[in-house]
C-alpha cells in the first residue's frame, strides 16, 4: 500500500475545513460511535447516518463518486470478507445455504448490520482524511491530548518514512539486478535482508536526526508550534453533529 497518497489530501477550502482539525476528528468519532450504537437491523437509521455523512461531504466539496464511494470500496470489501464468519456461525433459523455452511436469519441480520455500520463509519473516516492534511491531523492529536511521544514520533516518522521508502526501492532494485533467485525461499531471504537493512538505516537516520535536533537546541521535549484555535464555531458544529447523531440513535432504539 503506497504511502505517498497521504500528501494528496490537500485541504480543500470549505465550511468543513474552517472547523479546526480536532473538531473534525471528534466529529468522525461521533459518527462512528453513533453507527456502532444503533441496534441490529436499524436500516432506516443507518441510511440516515450515511446520508448525513454524504451531505457533509457535499458541503466540503469532496467528490461523492470518485472519492467518497471509491475510497471506501476496498476497505468495505475487507469488511465483507471478515464478516462472512458472522453470516454462517451464528445460530438461528436457517434461511439460505452457502456451500457447506448454513446461513441463519440471525446471522443474515448481523451481517447486514455490520456492513451498514462499517460503511457509515468508513465514509466518515474517508471524509476526514480527504479534508485534513497529515500535519493537521497531528495538530488534532496534540490538541486531544494523545501521548506527546506518539504525536512527536508520528511527526518524525512522516519524514523518515519517505526517505526509507526511497531506500527500500533502491535496495529492491539492487537485489533484483543481482538476480537474487526466483524461489520463494530466496525471495524471503532477500526481503529479510532488506528489512534488516531498513531497520539499520532507520536507526542510523534517527541517530543523525537526533544530532541535528541537538545542534538546534533540542533538550528532550519538542515544543509545539501553535495551538490550533478552538472557537465557538467548532463547539457549535460539533454539538450540532452530536445532537443529530444522538437523535438518530435514539430514534433507532425507541423504534
Amino acid at each position: 500500500m503506497s504511502f505517498h497518497h497521504l500528501d494528496h489530501y490537500a485541504a480543500i477550502p470549505s465550511p468543513l475545513t474552517r472547523v479546526p482539525p480536532a473538531a473534525r476528528l471528534l466529529g468522525t468519532v461521533t459518527i462512528a460511535l453513533g453507527a456502532a450504537s444503533v441496534p441490529l437491523a436499524a436500516w432506516p437509521q443507518l441510511a440516515a447516518l450515511g446520508l448525513l455523512v454524504l451531505a457533509l461531504a457535499a458541503a466540503a466539496r469532496v467528490p461523492i463518486v470518485t472519492v467518497m464511494l471509491q475510497r471506501a470500496v476496498w476497505p468495505l470489501g475487507f469488511v465483507v470478507a471478515a464478516s462472512v464468519a458472522v453470516l454462517v456461525f451464528v445460530p438461528g433459523r436457517p434461511v439460505a445455504h452457502l456451500g457447506p455452511f448454513t446461513v441463519s436469519d440471525a446471522g443474515a441480520v448481523r451481517f447486514g448490520s455490520v456492513l451498514g455500520r462499517a460503511a457509515v463509519a468508513l465514509e466518515a473516516a474517508v471524509l476526514l482524511v480527504s479534508t485534513t492534511s497529515f500535519p493537521q491531523l497531528l495538530h488534532a492529536f496534540r490538541r486531544l491530548r494523545l501521548p506527546r511521544a506518539v504525536t512527536v514520533a508520528l511527526g518524525l516518522a512522516y519524514r523518515l518514512l519517505y526517505i526509507l521508502v526511497d531506500e527500500i526501492e533502491r535496495l529492491q532494485r539492487a537485489a533484483r539486478s543481482r538476480n537474487a533467485g526466483a524461489g520463494a525461499a530466496s525471495r524471503r531471504r532477500v526481503l529479510v535482508g532488506i528489512t534488516a537493512a531498513v531497520l539499520g538505516r532507520a536507526l542510523a537516520r534517527g541517530e543523525r536526526t537526533h544530532q541535528a535536533m541537538l545542534a538546534r537546541g533540542f533538550q528532550g521535549d519538542l515544543p509545539p508550534l501553535h495551538e490550533t484555535s478552538w472557537d465557538a464555531r467548532a463547539t457549535v458544529s460539533l454539538a450540532a453533529l452530536a445532537l443529530a447523531v444522538a437523535g438518530i440513535v435514539w430514534w433507532a432504539r425507541a423504534g
Binding site: R117, A121, L122, A125, A149, A153, L191, A196, G206
Partner: protein, 306 residues
C-alpha cells in the same frame, strides 16, 4: 486480519477497551520516557517509520500467499514494552484514520489488542523465557520466536473475545476462525521476528543489549504476567461457558459431537455484572490478580534486598 473494522463491536466493548487502552498507554508513556530519556523522540520516530516500512514488505509464504511483519514483539523487545506500545499505537492510529485499516470507533479495541496486548505479551514471554532459560544466542532466538508467536495468538484470542462479548458471534466459532488465522500469522511473525533479531544480533548487537540486561523488576513482571495470564484464561473459560447454549448449537452446526453431558457451568454463568457487562468483571478480575501478585512480588523483592 488483526485490525477490527467498525461495525463489529458493541458500544460497551468499545468503551471498555478504549478505557483500558487509555490507561495502558498512560503507563506506557511514563515508562517509555523513563527508559529512553531524551533520546525518546528520535528513537520512537525511527521505530514507527520502520514498522510502517516493514509492513509494506510482503514476504511470500508459499501457496501464493504472503505475510508481512507486524512488528509488535520486535519493537517491544528492542525498545522496551512501554516504547513498543507507543510505537504500535502510533501505527494503529494512522492505519485506522488514513488507510481505513481498523475502525475509528474500534480504535480502543485495536489499540488494546495490537498495541498493548501484542507487544506486552511478546515482551513478557521474552523476558520470562530469557530469565528461565538463561543467555545464549540460540536460546534467545528461540524465545523471541515463541514470544512473537504467542503474542500474535493472544491478539487472536482477544479479538475473538471482543466479538463474543459484543454478542455478534458465539465465542467458540469466533475463536476457531479468528484464532486459526492468527495462529498462521503467528508462525510467520515468529519466523520473521527471529530472522531480523538474528541479523540485528550480528550487525547491531548494542540494540539487543537492552533486551537481555536482567533486572529484579523483570522477575516481578514475569511472576505477575504468569499469574495474570492464568487469570485471563480462567476468566475466558468462565465467560465462554456463560453462554453454553450458543456454544452447543455452534458445535452441533460444525458437526462436532458436543458434550451431551451437562455443559461446563462455571460459577459466572448467568452472572450480571453491576456496570457495563461481563467484560468489566473480567477486566477487574485480571487487574486485581495482577496487582496482588505484583504487590506480593515487590514486597518479597524488597525484603530480599534488606
Amino acid at each position: 486480519m488483526a485490525h477490527i473494522p467498525d461495525g463489529f463491536l458493541s458500544p460497551s466493548v468499545l468503551a471498555g477497551t478504549a478505557a483500558a487502552s487509555v490507561a495502558a498507554l498512560a503507563v506506557a508513556a511514563r515508562r517509555s520516557r523513563a527508559t529512553l530519556g531524551e533520546r525518546e523522540a528520535p528513537l520512537l520516530g525511527a521505530a514507527t517509520a520502520f514498522v510502517f516500512a516493514a509492513q509494506m514488505l510482503n514476504f511470500p509464504i508459499g501457496a501464493g500467499t504472503s505475510a508481512h511483519l507486524l512488528g509488535g514483539t520486535l519493537v517491544a523487545v528492542t525498545l522496551g514494552p512501554g516504547s513498543g506500545m507507543l510505537v504500535m499505537f502510533a501505527v494503529v492510529l494512522v492505519q485506522a484514520l488514513l488507510f481505513q485499516d481498523g475502525g475509528v470507533a474500534a480504535l480502543g479495541a485495536n489499540t488494546l489488542n495490537i498495541a498493548v496486548l501484542g507487544p506486552g505479551v511478546g515482551w513478557l514471554i521474552f523476558r520470562t523465557g530469557v530469565h528461565l532459560l538463561g543467555p545464549g544466542h540460540r536460546r534467545r532466538l528461540g524465545v523471541v520466536g515463541a514470544a512473537a508467536f504467542l503474542s500474535t495468538a493472544s491478539v487472536g484470542v482477544a479479538v475473538a473475545l471482543e466479538l463474543a462479548l459484543s454478542d455478534l458471534v458465539p465465542f467458540g466459532p469466533a475463536l476457531l476462525v479468528v484464532g486459526s488465522v492468527h495462529l498462521i500469522v503467528g508462525v510467520a511473525e515468529a519466523g520473521l521476528t527471529m530472522a531480523i533479531f538474528a541479523l540485528l544480533g550480528r550487525s547491531r548487537p548494542e540494540l539487543l543489549a537492552r533486551a537481555t540486561a536482567p533486572s529484579p523488576a523483570a522477575r516481578r513482571w514475569a511472576w505477575a504476567a504468569a499469574a495474570g495470564s492464568l487469570a485471563i484464561a480462567v476468566a475466558t473459560a468462565y465467560l465462554a461457558s456463560a453462554r453454553p447454549d450458543a456454544l452447543q448449537a455452534a458445535a452441533a452446526r460444525l458437526g462436532i459431537a458436543g458434550p451431551d453431558a451437562a455443559p461446563l457451568q462455571g460459577p459466572f454463568a448467568g452472572y450480571t455484572a453491576p456496570l457495563g457487562g461481563p467484560w468489566v468483571a473480567a477486566a477487574l478480575g485480571v487487574v486485581v490478580v495482577f496487582g496482588l501478585i505484583w504487590g506480593v512480588a515487590s514486597l518479597a523483592g524488597a525484603r530480599r534486598r534488606l
